[in-house]
């Protein structure tokens, strides 16, 4: 594998969109190509995450139509579906194809337009990311998955549930604080100063998770231009190199048994660290899949940033905020920035690139500018996991 770099990024404002999801993607992709300074004729392939376009707009093959929309000719395009991790696995494959030497410059990213479905139908279609035959009749929802995760965590680590809920509230407070500072976020300038009580007392969604424990439904798109590292500096003085990636698969929730420690996430994170030759202590900034407050806590442990049972306390203690051990979701994460599911993985990569350019909003920028960052993206109830480790310096010279 040769070295690979991200040379441009584009990101729509998350929230409610009036554009189609193909138009949303085209906006993000156009920004990314302009940011990279590449001509459309140089793009050789598109790798795109897109989860529910058939339900949202009756639209299949969003990748092919995005190629056409952008005037990219007849280049190969592939749509990736791994529920909420779709665009991370799209980026990972883009990295593999460029790394292999097949392509020099490609586009990767994702798009989603969930809000148009309304909450009941969006909840129904999102639940399709679970195991339909067994979890379908039970009526399991994703807030339900992470509610049961919180209950298990409370039980296994002997933290009374009411205490754990307070600790979890700090995830929401932190991510909303940073989301409120991010102009690209769905909750920009909103919920920036939440109190624990407000999180605990907002509307109950799935006991014990309240609305403020949950990320919103969102529309949005994000894209990156990925190219061979050897030519990256023709286009930018600030390439961000892909140092390692991981991916994992899991089964129905019940088969995972202790799903506070899903094997798919542990193996994917380890694969990423191994391929980069790095460990959690090397990571300066982290964007992880905080679809719910409890999700952030278990993700931190599965990736090895904290020992089992310690991330809830560490979060309350500020260890995951600026100045802490591992600044996590300085973009606002899924809770504060929004979660257009097909775009989230690419958005996380964009937010790490922004950090590495020192271009994150004041109050969100890690100082000094981070050298190495990581993304963690979760699809379904631990069915698809993806990790990407990014760095400002090349892995090999």
């Amino acid at each position: 594998m040769r070295d690979v770099a991200i040379i441009g990024m584009g990101h729509t404002k998350f929230g409610k969109a009036e554009k189609t999801q193909i138009e949303l993607f085209a906006e993000a992709a156009m920004q990314a190509m302009e940011d990279a300074g590449v001509d459309r004729k140089q793009i050789e392939a598109l790798f795109m995450g897109s989860v529910l376009p058939m339900f949202e707009e009756g639209q299949g093959m969003t990748s092919a139509y995005s190629v056409s929309e952008l005037g990219l000719g007849s280049i190969p395009s592939t749509r990736f579906e791994g529920a909420c991790a779709s665009s991370t696995i799209a980026l990972r494959d883009a990295y593999m194809w460029v790394g292999s030497g097949q392509y020099d410059i490609v586009l990767a990213g994702g798009t989603e337009r969930a809000l148009i479905m309304g909450t009941p139908f969006a909840t129904r279609t999102f639940a399709m990311g679970g195991h339909a035959a067994t979890e379908g009749p039970a009526g399991l929802t994703f807030p339900g998955v992470f509610a049961m995760t919180a209950v298990l965590y409370s039980r296994f680590y002997d933290i009374p549930l009411e205490k754990l809920r307070e600790k979890m509230a700090y995830v929401s407070i932190k991510n909303h604080k940073h989301g409120a500072l991010n102009p690209l976020a769905q909750w920009y300038q909103k919920y920036g100063n939440l109190k624990v009580e407000e999180v605990l007392n907002s509307r109950m969604i799935a006991d014990p998770l309240t609305l403020l424990d949950c990320c919103p439904f969102s529309d949005g798109a994000a894209a990156v231009v990925i190219c061979a590292a050897d030519i990256a500096r023709r286009y930018t003085d600030e390439p961000v190199y892909i140092l390692g990636t991981g991916q994992g698969s899991g089964g129905a929730l019940a088969r995972l048994e202790d799903f506070t420690k899903p094997a798919s996430r542990i193996s994917s994170a380890r694969m990423a660290f191994k391929s980069a030759g790095l460990s959690p202590k090397d990571i300066d900034v982290l964007e992880l899949h905080d679809c719910f407050t409890s999700a952030e806590i278990i993700a931190l442990e599965c990736m090895g940033f904290f020992d089992w049972g310690e991330a809830a306390d560490a979060t309350e203690d500020g260890q995951t905020d600026l100045g802490g051990k591992i600044p996590t979701n300085m973009s606002g994460g899924l809770i504060g920035k929004g979660h257009p599911i097909g775009a989230t993985g690419a958005s996380q990569a964009c937010m790490i690139v922004e950090q590495m350019r020192g271009a994150a909003p004041k109050g969100n920028q890690v100082d000094p500018v981070p050298e190495i960052g990581m993304t963690d993206t979760l699809g379904g109830d631990f069915g698809t996991l993806g990790h990407i480790i990014l760095g400002r310096s090349r892995r090999s010279k």
Partner: protein, 143 residues
């Protein structure tokens, strides 16, 4: 050219999800016992959920287990009526299974965790997207 026998069509499933759901409707919790590692797979798969072996035989589980975790769903998907309780149960035979719990949603408490539960029936759901009707177990708390 050497003459060859036509390719043999080999079926591997000992128990399908349709067989499993039919069992539930008849009051039986069906699964598979692995001839290699002796452990139980439930709901059924094409291989043993513990060791991956293909050497499986049909078995009936006791239908009893321990309540491991639960939630009260208050915002349901379209086509479902909330509130209802989703739970995970660790069966006596080992595998965890998902189902609903028959209990007052406003009286649910963490104190119920670890309680013995038993399959008491099924909950059936069907909508335009479900590929026909599917059932899951409904559990009751054993006093």
């Amino acid at each position: 050219m050497v003459e060859r026998e036509p390719t043999e069509i080999r079926e591997h499933y000992v128990l399908t999800s349709a067989d499993y759901e039919k069992g539930l409707k008849e009051g039986k919790l069906l699964g598979l016992r692995c001839k290699d590692c002796k452990q139980t797979t439930c709901p059924p798969m094409i291989v043993c959920q513990r060791c991956g072996s293909k050497e499986l035989e049909k078995t009936e589980l006791s239908g009893e287990g321990e309540l491991m975790t639960f939630t009260v769903i208050r915002i349901p998907p379209e086509g479902y009526e909330a509130p209802y309780i989703v739970c995970l149960v660790k069966t006596k035979e080992g595998p965890w299974i998902i189902g609903r719990l028959d209990y007052d949603t406003e009286k649910m408490s963490q104190k119920l965790l670890g309680k013995k539960v038993r399959v008491k029936g099924v909950y059936a759901h069907v909508d335009k997207y479900s590929g026909g009707e599917h059932v899951c177990p409904v559990f009751e708390i054993l006093q």
